[in-house]
Symmetry: C2
Amino acid sequence: MSSMLNFSVSAAVEGTEAPPIPRAQAWGVEYLENPSYGELLGLSQGVPGTAPHESVLKALSAVSADPLSAKYGPILGETALREAYAEEIRVQYQLSPSCKGKGGVTGQDIGITTGCNMAFLTLIMALCPAGKSSVLIPLPSYFNQMMVFSLQSVKPIFVPCDTTNAFKPSLASAREYLSSPDRQKEEMKPKMICLVSPNNPTGSVYTHEEIKEWYDLAKEFKVALILDETYRDFVEDSNGDRGIPHRLFEEEDWRETLISLGSFSKGYRIPGHRLGSIIAGPALLKHLTTICDCMQICAPRPPQIALSTLLPSLRPDLTASSKALSKRRHLFEDVVNSVEGWNVASIGGYFAYVSYPSDYSFASSTLGLKRKNLTSEDIAKILATKVGVVTLPGSFFMPPTSDDEAWENDVLKGGEILREDKWLRFAVANVGDDVILKLGPRLKEMNKLMGLGE
Amino acid sequence: MSSMLNFSVSAAVEGTEAPPIPRAQAWGVEYLENPSYGELLGLSQGVPGTAPHESVLKALSAVSADPLSAKYGPILGETALREAYAEEIRVQYQLSPSCKGKGGVTGQDIGITTGCNMAFLTLIMALCPAGKSSVLIPLPSYFNQMMVFSLQSVKPIFVPCDTTNAFKPSLASAREYLSSPDRQKEEMKPKMICLVSPNNPTGSVYTHEEIKEWYDLAKEFKVALILDETYRDFVEDSNGDRGIPHRLFEEEDWRETLISLGSFSKGYRIPGHRLGSIIAGPALLKHLTTICDCMQICAPRPPQIALSTLLPSLRPDLTASSKALSKRRHLFEDVVNSVEGWNVASIGGYFAYVSYPSDYSFASSTLGLKRKNLTSEDIAKILATKVGVVTLPGSFFMPPTSDDEAWENDVLKGGEILREDKWLRFAVANVGDDVILKLGPRLKEMNKLMGLGE
């Protein structure tokens, strides 16, 4: 019991890490008090860097003036938006418009939520009884998802990503885990496999073939496959055009296994309006309606109404954003890989996962620090406060406790290399190419500061 | 496992009742197919009946055109809105503007959520570990709160309301329960007392003195007092003006025990924009920030920015709404009480709890029904489908199972009379006085239909 409160707070909440982004932003503020190298380069948060399309702002303004938008709407979203969004999904995933057979996606398969974090929490509440559930999830993991597991007392079983193969998660480890005799009882089986593609934090983009293997695994072991596709609008094909994220919606029985989450925050650049989506079969959406009624009643209505007629007209804008971001990612790779000791390990969507020079970890003496073996958080802090480049350390995406025993218990085999903790997440979407160009000289200054190459 | 799904849905979710409002609305649709007595009188849902103030619509429109509002905002709300709302609370509760001492309310005590249901769920997540918690709550109870308990595996212990005293909950029963030797161990003690005033569903408005007794009880037994004040803008003083809901914020140490929930949906008539509030001490808000980050990231930004400068100018509008509603409640009482056998048992805020003629329960033969002892759901359905008056039956606000054993187990003593199940909830806020006037003849038609007074 906190000394300030006359009642007790749940241990699960007490034990959940605070949101980490404000911590990184505080480092940036520290730099700004003594900006040695010019402006702060804010590469920590995955937010759109530009304003919404002019037509979206116009529609939002017009709709908000209408008293109708101030009323409650349907729990799972405006019918018009659900229909319109289903059509966007059919176009992007190149599905037959008639949705013949059971494959395809219709408005009945769409639920609109107040952002994608809420969509994820809703699913955890729907499928994972607190204190009695586990889920399979690749490591590194998005911190908000780990926070949800902690808050809801759900145990994550981490599937290690292959650091030498663009941070793809190990299907073999997951299969071995699911196949173990201990896991055959219903109550010992994970409730779901959670994938994020394009990934947060690593930027890794899984191919259709890879996602299909996970789908088949989920199907075989009768667990749900949750695919967080927040960054689906930034999947690139071999020409740099907007690509097809996967072909699972063509499966006749996808609704029995797959749940796909999405966001309007990134593609349409309206995070402040809070709109996300769940694509799932009506048999599951029925249950999610009950949860959503208790959580949101309905998602905010004005952006729903505003977008419901605009979506087809925004396709060229999505394509243009996707191409611009693709160009920026290539520029980022060129810039970062050209600096001694820096290496882009994986990149895609909004993010890049980058390793810094291995000597950094041992730079304590150069910096006059007492501690040896600097962590990624140490490095991220130095990078932000000293040279004004704000990123998130890889440690923000690792389990909160990582002593040997906890590691053995929580992380499937093959992941030891992740303990090297030598990565930083760069968000590349919220800045212009000019900022990326300034990054090269800053990283070189960082190398100097850390005693490298002198 | 549902035959349509290849994975299992949590038993807590499977076992939670679906949102009941759509069921009642379906009855209204059935009436509209054969509207014998004219228009449908929709008195089921607690929603504002008129448009937001013109200045609110204007500000919402202007703010939504600004790309800034499309960006993420702070997790617990815009600083400007938190400050402005604290000032509104100080004005409404007549607190000293300087907030000297620890009493009073400041912006630091305010958290902005995506509606009040979300505020409530956030608190249940914060204070009630799933599967190991109980809460004390008056019966009848708001169904969304009961659904949250069910979803999160929290056990409600129902404190019966006194049907002969405006549905005030029995403090003595609650005290006896908390004092029982079995309840002295921390893990056997309820985590909180939840009150709603003005109440949903009963309309009962608790006086300051009554609320203070509950506060003292919570303090004595070291549990939290959650006060849902969604309808706080419609508390009326003896002159019919906007009254002071309670004086707990004057207590020097209120932050150690009290948590007050609110909504912008009713007073400002913007439910579709989804804004709610939590008033609590910073020691608790720190934990709620972690949960809110995982649930909402931030509440929708445009209504927050729009309202942050408007609130003081809207006070006359709030007063006018409150007075109009007060007049409507008096009209409603006159109309309903003048019909034979109908009686307004309690009324306040948005709702009235009304008993129908006792002979109704035995009207099966008149209606040609086989079943005897008609429930309030039967009566509400007949009232809606036959004479076009849509209300919610009292059974929607009772425990889902009410067999003798469950009742004994869940409801504290003194509540047997509630099993008579002879009440209907009328929402009086969303219709004009003209609709209330039409209600009298309809209730008389209902009496005829049920074989009364012929």
